[in-house]
Every structure is written in structure tokens, then in C-alpha cells.
Amino acid sequence: MDGVRVGKRLIGTQAPVTIGWENIPRVEGGPVKQFIFTWFQPTVLFALLAFWYYAPNSIAKASTAVGIGIGFKVLLLGLEWVNPRHESWRLTWKELVTDLFYVGLGYTALRIVDDYIGDKVMVEAVQHYFHWDKFTWFMGLPLLVQAFLISFVFDFGQYWMHRGMHNWYPLWLPHSVHHYITQLNINKGAVGNPVELFLIGLGIGGFFDFLPRAFLLAGAFGMAIGTYQHINVRFNSPRWWRFLFNTTEHHSLHHSQDFEATRSNYSGSYIFIDRIFGTCIDGEAELLGMEGGRRMSIREQMTFPFTEGWKSLKERFGQPIATPAE
């Protein structure tokens, strides 16, 4: 395969990828379908922002956000059903069970761990040690600015953590497991080794004091943008949307079987962070995964970072085994 030159890099020499928005297929169907799948993403984003901005205090609560989050995922599952991006990414019973197992871990086991050693605990420890108070001036900013900054600071941290995972072997080990998925569906973001899921969830938001409503608005940014990283739906995302925000196109390229393509599009929500640091590639891929598309079992996903790490340590520091001369 020849690949396509993007800057100094050749993308797609190992596996098929599509580079450039002009080469990406559009939504097929009548005008109503075209309209829906063009304006769905911006409409949901602005509707959610308006809702959280104006909802009375009695409604603007975390429990409402959880409810909306679940409802939104069910709606997106419906969209995956009616307008799949690729037939080969169709959700099967087994994929759904696997994905939900990881979602379940996120809501239970990871929460417990987070409570003891998560970012909140670390931030509190640092504040206590240095006698720092929270940055209370942050609360005086306009709500939407607060919300954007909360989500941007988190995404900026996630960008570097994610980029680090792709560039430093000890961090790559736990993250590699997530790259063995062979298709994108809305719960695939939760699939990965728990160590990685813990690391990627770390943030420094705890240093700031913000209005609860700003936090809910930040959650709306994450939900109405970040969710589309892993989704099997074809959208005609508006040009400004795909310039600013991460899309399933960007993220499918990040998951492709082509090594160079995977070293791009690291941000969670704001692809302009990738544009700033020169790691953004606009395009898409259908063939995803590692080792030619080997799907890892849950058991291996749990143990792989440790067994691989042990193997590498042995290779590096282990005693060479003497082979008898023939």
C-alpha cells in the first residue's frame, strides 16, 4: 500500500484508511434523513446547553444528568441501528454484553477505587499539604466560560495522558488493550484495562471551585461531543463541528490497523488541541484493531498489561538462557 502523505508522515501504508473530508462518504437517503443526520449533533449540543443553563435549581442536579446520559445513549443505540456507518461495525449481542460489562465496572469497581486514590483524593492531599484553598475566583466567571474551561482543562490533560500512552511503553501497556477493539459502538469508550480507565479519568478540576451548574454544563459538552468518538453512525457533521470537535471519523483513524494513523487524534472532545500540536489527521478507517484485527477476550484484556510487562522485563533484565551447542 502506498499510503497518503500528511505533513511529514505517510498514513495508510499498512492498512486501508481514507484521508481528507472530500473522500469521506456522505449520508445516503432522502432529504429528511440528510437533514436529521446533518443537524442532529449541533441541535443536541445547543439544546443541552440551553437546558442546563436555564433549568431551575430543583432540576439542575446530578441525578437529572445521569438520567439524560442514559436516555441519550439509548437514543444513540437506536441511531446505530437505523443508520450504521459500517455494516461490519453492527452491534451484536456479544459486543453489547462485553461493552456493558466495562460500563458496569466503571459505575462500580472503578468508583470504589477512585474514592480512595482518585484525582479528588490527590487534589485534596496536595491542597492540604500546601495549605492551598480552591481557586474561588473561578466561580465569578460567566457560567459558559466556567463550563468550557472545566471541560477544556480536563480534555487538555486527557490529550497529554493519551499521547503519553502512545509514546511511553509503561503507559502504552494498559492502553494497548483498548486498541484491540475491532469496531466502534457507543459504549466502546468504556472498554479497556481498568488501570487505563483509571489513568484517563484523572483530572485537576478539583483545584477549582465552580458552580454546580457549570459542572453540569461541562458534562453536557462532554456528552454532546465526546460521545461521538465511539459510535457506529454516519453523520454529515458541519464543517465547523469537525474542525473544532473530535468525531467518529477522527477516532476511527486513531483506532485503525495502520500504525502511523493511530498516532493521531488524541483528544477526547476538542480536536483543535490536536490541530494546535500537529497531531490531527482528518479522515476515517473501517478496519480497526491490532495484530490484524485480533479481538481480545475480557480475560486477556484484564491481564495483558501485566503479562506483557513481565515478558518485556524478563527480556530486558532476565538471565539469558544458555543454549547448548549442537
Partner: protein
């Protein structure tokens, strides 16, 4: 105890009636593409096919199964293809509710253990909370746009994010997996039967 009493949990058995003139070779030739998938190995003898799958792709139409035996039996009324397939995914899904119920118990046990120390922390943190009880600022832009005024922070009330995790989500996931198991056990049974039937009829 006979393992058949429980092995229906992850074993799927069934049969498909074959056309009278269909030979064993013809049947297995038609089914052959199903076993030429990533991670699948199979052996064929006269009227039996044994297969095994490892790390099968999500796109594999039989990905839910890890192994099985397909056998052609000649009967009085014609021949039938009998199959006996095993699925670790079904077993896993059957056991998953137990895992999440265990997680719920763990959450409850941990929160009981945490209670005394949390109460002690509450009294020590009162000074800081009182300071927070001051007026909550609201930006002029938000006032002009008509956003509801923020509530004053209640010193006695724990912040939403500081709440201990509840066991509810673990119970919800236990229920989801129980429901998913029932759906999967029936759905995958039907799908594989339809798949064999379609493959045998197809050219």
C-alpha cells in the same frame, strides 16, 4: 449430577433438516465459509465437523461460540444436521449478575467501614465549610441572560461529588446482565439456526 442439567446455560444444541438429496460433502462445503474466519480451526471427517475459535473477530457471524461439533445423521425421514455448540460469552453473561451482586455487597461493607471516620472528618472540616457558606457569586452576563441564581452552599450538606458510592448501580447492572442473558440465550440460539439454514440454502 448429570452436567446436562446445567450445561444448557452455555451449550446450544439444535438441528436443521437437510434436503433429501444433499450429501455430507455438499452440506459441509456450503457451511465452509463460516469456519474460514480469523482464529477458527476446524477438522472434517465423513459426517462430522469439529471447530474451535480463539480471539474471534466481532464481525465473525459465529463469534459468540468458542467451539462445537456438527454432525449429519441419517434418519428414516431424511438426514438432519445436528449441532452442539459452546459459548463462554453466554456462561460469562449468566455469571455476571453474581459478580455485580458481589460488588454491591462490597460497596455496602466499605461504606459501613467508612462511616465512623467520615463523621470525624465532618467535625474537623466545619471551619472551612462555614467560610464557603458566604455569598455565591453570579456573573453579570448570567444575570442579564436570566439564568437561575445559584443556591447558597449548605455547610451541613455534603457536596454531591463527595457522596459515598451507593450499591444501586451494582444492583442495576446485575439486573441488566440477567435480562441480557435471557435475551442472548434465546436470540443466539435462533440466530445460529437461521445462519445454518441460510448457508445450506444459499448457492
Amino acid at each position: 449430577m448429570n452436567s446436562r442439567f446445567i450445561d444448557w446455560i452455555w451449550h446450544v444444541r439444535g438441528s436443521v433438516t437437510l434436503a433429501p438429496e444433499q450429501s455430507s460433502d455438499d452440506v459441509f462445503d456450503r457451511l465452509d465459509p463460516l469456519f474460514r474466519q480469523y482464529g477458527t480451526s476446524h477438522e472434517r471427517t465423513n459426517d462430522t465437523l469439529i471447530f474451535r475459535k480463539k480471539d474471534q473477530a466481532a464481525q465473525d457471524k459465529m463469534s459468540v461460540f468458542d467451539g462445537g461439533v456438527l454432525q449429519i445423521e441419517q434418519g428414516v425421514s431424511g438426514s438432519v444436521l445436528r449441532y452442539h455448540l459452546t459459548s463462554r460469552a453466554l456462561l460469562f453473561c449468566f455469571l455476571a449478575p453474581l459478580l455485580f451482586l458481589g460488588m454491591a455487597q462490597l460497596t455496602i461493607a466499605l461504606s459501613k467501614h467508612e462511616k465512623p471516620s467520615a463523621e470525624a472528618a465532618d467535625t474537623s472540616g466545619k471551619g472551612r465549610d462555614a467560610k464557603k457558606n458566604a455569598d455565591v457569586p453570579m456573573n453579570a452576563i448570567d444575570k442579564a441572560l436570566g439564568a437561575p441564581a445559584p443556591e447558597k452552599k449548605d455547610a451541613g450538606k455534603a457536596e454531591g461529588r463527595n457522596k459515598k458510592p451507593s450499591a444501586t448501580s451494582a444492583y442495576v447492572f446485575a439486573a441488566i446482565f440477567a435480562a441480557l442473558y435471557l435475551v442472548g440465550r434465546i436470540l443466539e440460539d435462533r440466530l445460529v439456526k437461521a445462519l445454518f439454514r441460510k448457508s445450506l440454502l444459499g448457492a
